[in-house]
Symmetry: none
Subunit: 196 residues, 2 copies
């Protein structure tokens, strides 16, 4: 009988994935998004590094899975960017606000952590700077003109609405449906997307 | 003559309260609501911890008192509303972002508390619903049309920028001056103020 190096059963993919996700949460929280390498996470999880791309694609996919985000923001932007320009404002507002929709929304818990924990804020900043801002450029009509600033303005407006609605809970937002809010936001988000 | 433990005059309650409020603002801004203990604030203020409940009831009472003093959003809106309509978008953006400007910004401390403490979120919600939204109506050109929603959209956009810039610290905002950000935000805030 051969000695196994860990208590983990080889060949149980569910257990391996769970170990990788646990290790990823710890490593992202400690080192931030940039410095949490696939290799470091694999070491922490005591698995072959090749299993991470196998199960999660890349580091972004692992981050999305580890934090149970309901959608990959990069895929979300790709879907919005596939629409005609004039429809993108409403679609971006709807998709984004849905990230914060559930009662135990993981988007909310990431925000709560970032508000009080410096390491969590660094992790979120690096994730946004490295993945969300570049992906957001694809939805803009004139991405060469202050594109990153405009993506940041879109994201921050919707972030503020999510915080005001779901964390603070102010009446003008709580009393309205998602559809009404999307309709109110769409022209302004659209302006950031296609204003020259 | 008895030895006094600090340089502060005992028996001067105004000076003691002022020292406590100063210490509370610094401590809440640094640590958020949860982790800023009465004991830590008392140490920071160099006073007996028992004086804090004596003067302010509990930590939330202290929090409310500490934040009533500096930023009066009602006066801020009154100053913006006194300007010609076309200038109000930039003025509102500038005034609001300045609430979150300092290193020990009281606005940031309010936000951190609301993100993690349900009582603080309720307090902030009531404060916004009861005072900020009604006061904000005065800056609108057509306040009878969905006025409260438009004030909430202005406030939430600027809130999101403040969170993204000062808490998360994303590059497109951190790399820009307040003037540049105000210039980028002004047309959209202006739209909420005067669009029919």
């Amino acid at each position: 009988m051969t000695k196994r190096p860990t208590g983990r059963r080889p060949g149980d993919p569910d257990e391996t994935k769970r170990a990788i996700l646990d290790a990823a949460r710890r490593t992202f929280a400690t080192h931030g998004f940039d410095r949490a390498t696939i290799r470091a996470i694999a070491t922490e999880a005591d698995v072959d590094p090749a299993l991470i791309p196998h199960h999660f694609g890349n580091k972004r996919g692992l981050f999305v899975a580890a934090h149970e985000l309901p959608a990959d923001p990069v895929e979300m932007f790709a879907r919005v960017a596939a629409l005609p320009v004039a429809e993108r404002g409403a679609a971006a507002a709807r998709s984004y606000l849905q990230l914060f929709a559930g009662q135990d929304s993981t988007g909310l818990s990431l925000l709560r952590a970032a508000a009080t924990d410096a390491d969590a804020a660094v992790m979120l900043r690096e994730f946004i700077d490295d993945t969300i801002i570049p992906a957001g450029l694809s939805v803009l009509e004139h991405s060469e003109i202050e594109g990153e600033l405009r993506v940041a303005l879109i994201a921050s407006h919707l972030l503020g609405v999510a915080v005001a609605r779901r964390i603070v809970g102010i009446s003008p937002f709580v009393d309205r449906s998602l559809d009404d809010l999307v309709a109110a936001l769409a022209p302004v988000i659209q302006r950031y997307i296609d204003a020259p």
